[in-house]
């Protein structure tokens, strides 16, 4: 009788001892087949119940179950350990160099010309301006006559413009778009800018380019003043160059504005103290502007007695060169990807 009970203990101890020797996937499997299958000693223990007295049967069954549970529990633990070890080994094998470059999902570079032009556009759009584009190949009529530069005006000198034929040329400024915009609006107030390419007969060097970008601006309405021009340009310049910038006007001349001004901004390098960037003056010339000439308004069907307006023209390369410290305008047109890829966003 006690014999059966002690056998249970004996088998349990023996199986657990065997289990302690298991140390890898193969021995685990072997152990499972040998000691946990239906024909294993542990499984056969229950059949011993027939040799146990009736009153002891329940107790015996319980003992067998306990032994089996104990073994199974230990087995679960063991197989977990072995599995963990296997996974750990696999992961160790899979370890990579986490410092190698990732897949190249870089944003493409953008020519700083477009970076600046897009930002100028966005700034004025946010202020309610319409954005229009005019043609690069322009008529003499729009490029000059409508801009109050009559035939034989010195500004028309052949050496300044690329002519296609006597009445067609590559536009020398984006100003002709002023006239087109006013023609379209038929006498109503307007606020517009026009970005575009311009061409002049300049030899290319560090600061000159036969092709360059301009953004033209025009506001026409009742009671528009030179003070409005200053307010607008101040807002624009501070957006582009920082809140601390000061703006000043200097007298100038353009045939299509009166008064005309050159607009200077406090140097972005020294803040106005004077340095090599601003040649010691504390200011940098940034754009030309003025009040729309009454003749220009008149030619576009606006009564200069009722309407007035201001206009300005910003050189895109100039802003880009100042802002990003570009020392040679030709770099903008060269297309060297080592240059372009330095610029992605503002």
């Amino acid at each position: 009788m006690a014999e059966e009970f002690s056998k249970v203990k004996e088998v349990e101890a023996k199986v657990l001892d065997e289990m302690s020797k298991v140390n890898d996937e193969a021995s685990l499997k072997e152990f499972q087949e040998q000691h946990l299958s239906k024909k294993s000693e542990l499984s056969q223990l229950m059949s011993e119940i027939r040799n146990v007295a009736n009153e002891q049967k329940a107790k015996f069954g319980q003992a067998v179950n306990e032994a089996r549970n104990k073994v199974m529990e230990a087995f679960q633990k063991k197989s977990q350990e072995i599995n963990d070890a296997i996974i750990a080994k696999k992961l160790a094998r899979e370890t990579i160099d986490i410092t190698l470059p990732g897949y190249n999902y870089k944003m493409g570079g953008i020519n700083p010309f477009y970076l600046v032009q897009d930002e100028i556009i966005d700034t004025f759009v946010s202020m309610g301006y319409e954005v229009k584009e005019g043609p690069d190949v322009e008529s003499d009529y729009y490029n000059f006559e409508r801009m109050n530069i009559p035939a034989n005006h010195p500004a028309r000198e052949m050496q300044d413009s690329f002519y296609i034929n006597p009445t067609t040329l590559l536009r020398t400024h984006t100003s002709p778009e002023q006239a087109r915009a006013m023609d379209e609006k038929e006498g109503k107030p307007l606020m517009m800018i026009c970005p575009g390419k311009c061409f002049r007969r300049d030899d290319d060097d560090v600061t000159h380019s036969h092709q360059f970008g301009q953004v033209e601006g025009l506001v026409v309405g009742k009671g528009i003043t030179l003070a409005n021009l200053k307010g607008t340009l101040e807002l624009f310049i501070r957006k582009m160059f920082g809140e601390k910038r000061q703006v000043r006007f200097r007298g100038s001349y353009f045939p299509f504005t009166e008064p005309s001004v050159e607009v200077d901004v406090t140097c972005m390098n020294c803040g106005g103290k004077g340095c090599s960037t601003c040649k010691g003056t504390g200011y940098i010339e940034i754009l030309g502007a003025g009040m729309v000439h009454p003749n220009v308004l008149k030619m576009s069907g606006y009564d200069p007695e009722v309407y007035s307006g201001f206009a300005f023209g910003v050189g895109v390369e100039r802003v880009a060169m100042l802002r990003y410290g570009i020392d040679d305008i030709r770099k903008i047109y060269q297309g060297d990807v080592r240059f372009i890829e330095q610029f992605t966003r503002k």
Binding site: L100, P154, L190, M191, T225, L226, A227
Partner: protein, 797 residues
Amino acid sequence: MKVSLNLLKKFVDLEGLTPEEIAKRLTFAGVEVESIEKIASASKVVVGEVIHCENMENSDHLHVTKVNCGPKYGTLDIVCGAPNCRKGLKVIVALDGCVLPGGTIKKGQIRGHESNGMLCSLLELGVDSKYLSEEQTKGIEELPASFEVGSENVLELLGLDDTVLDLKLLANRSDLYSVLNIAKEIKTLFGKEVNLPKASVKETFKANFKVGSETEKCPQFSARVVKGIVTKESPSWLKEALRSSGIRSINNIVDIGNYIMLVTGQPLHMYDLDKLEKQELIVRDDIEGDFVALDEKTYKLQKGDICITSNGKVMCLGGVMGSLACAVDEKTKNVVIEAANFDYASIRRTSIRLNLSSDSSQRFVKGINPNQYDYVMDLTADLLLSLADAKEVAEVDTYLKEKYVPTKIKSSVKYINGRLGTSFSKEEVLGALKAAHIEVKDSGDELEAIIPDHRIDITGEADLSEEVIRILGFEHIESKLPVTELFVGKLEPNLEKKRSVRSYLRGIGLDEVLCYSLVDKDEIDEFRILNKDEAYKVLNPLTDEHQYVRTNLLPSLMNTLIYNKNHSNDNVAIFEVSDIYSLPEHKSIHLGIALVGNDLRRYALKGEPYSYYHLKGVIDSLLALFGIDEKRAVISRLEEKEFHPGKSALLKIDGKPAAVFGELHPNTLKKYHLEKENVCVLEFDLSVLFETKTSLKKMSEISRYQSVKRDFAFIFEDKVTSKEVVQEVYRVNRELIKDVEVFDVYKGEHVKEGHYSMAFSIYLNSNEKTLVDKDISAVEEAVIKAIELKFGAELRK
């Protein structure tokens, strides 16, 4: 315009003003001073006399001298290398410690001889060689014998203690090509007193010289005969006045003409009276033929050129150049002085056509004071009397088309403040106008401004507002944003679309470049595929490189690619979006892409070579971006010499050619020296894409039921395209087949010659129910049957 402050000082009080102050004020008032130059500079120089001079032994050019430098400095031993160094010469001596533009002078030994200073040329004092004679540049300056030994104010004695302002004059201020008008401007800005020269000439005889004009292009023509002149060297004050303004002295007669032009802005011309065939000068513009000018060259005259004639012969090309036939020379005794005004447009045309430009023609082209000829004539006659020993001066004979009437402008303080956005008082406004030499008639609210005759640029009310603000100062302008009705800021539709394309392309890693629009002839002829129009040609290019307006973008991008390859940039993916223009009046928006090397996006380390399919992917994505249905976009093979015939394509949208793209032909690669590279390029006429109408997208229903995927593989003949197969599959059951995806294409082992294997998945789904086996196998069977039937393809098991 260069203006000497010593000369300017004669006509306006500059007391208490530094050159810097003058320059700053002028610049802010719209008269930019580009530079402030000192004519010469030297400290510690003295007038000396060479009292002993001998050649140095062992030297072919050095002299050993003793120079008397007056009681203060005594006699100094100085070694001098100038060929004209000799005993008795009065010289400029730079003493020990003297600072010259080239450096500091120190005592020293030269080949064993003591030297206690330097004898100077004007070059060494910083005077530009263009103002000096050849002798002056080769040796030391020979001072007049009258100079006193020991004088320390050498620069002043020589008139070299001068500062020159270089004015960058804008087209409106042609009046400032006159020193007198600059003096008036100084008065305007600083309130200083002017002292204009007064002419005091008295005519001594009646010449009865005839003047006239037979053309509209001459509003005024004056002539005056002066007799008995003597040609000689100009006095030093005149030479200095010219030199400081950048004009070389020739002789007294020529110098007087140049001086009068410099001071008054009125170009003069002088004729030798005795060489004129008739006592007349008549202006005409109807003459053709040859004309021998002062420069001894022959020019072809055309109708329209302004000619000054005597007895029908051209004596001067008006405002441009005189005739050799009546030129003033050393023998000339009697002259006719001309002071006239000509139509600026005609002068400009003639000057450009003959490529003849002078200080005179430039002044006429910019516009001159129309009402000062009498004054100018008198000033000139005065100088001829005092500097050229003129004996007799006749009256001024003038032809005048119409009487000069000063410009009068009506305006108001309110208008001026309204334009400027200022609140100047009436006193301030009137004060500013008065300072600008404008006479103002004040009648309450209105005012009438009478413009001085030298300010031909002031023609309207707006000009008055500019005068006021430049005189009172731009710092009075406040910053005020305009108050207008509200507008919605927006981009033109095409600009908006260009931006979408550009940001998509940058998003997939392409670099955005900007190329010149003007290209050379070769670039026009290459990749002339999408746009075959004739290119605009520039009539007056600067270089052959920039002669044509480009009609396609690929040539520029190929050149940019080569630039990058030459600078060891191996993997390049660039694009440009630009408007292109061609004859006749064609404009469209193009996109160009050029790829070379490897795409590094998929495999970070080694990358994958760029291929046709990279560009095909861009095309597919752009079509999707703009909502263009696949059915409207048709791809076909491209047969263009630049491209690989088997790896290039033409895209048409709604039948319109829209893009060409693919890999390049070996011949093209060879031409660009890119034999070893795989280059893929694309040119897209975005205008076609942008103009394609698409309807607003509406949401389409997504099925709630499980989707089922089935894979197939078939062997096809090579000529069968994937697109045909996919279309055929859809046709089997448009309701249930939601998607067809090609996932493998294979050629080679186990596939017979001329055939290839293609595998694809179909995705089945119903919007009404979950599909059961029966539904699925029915579609499967139908697909197999259809593909076998249509293409003679063989199902791979």
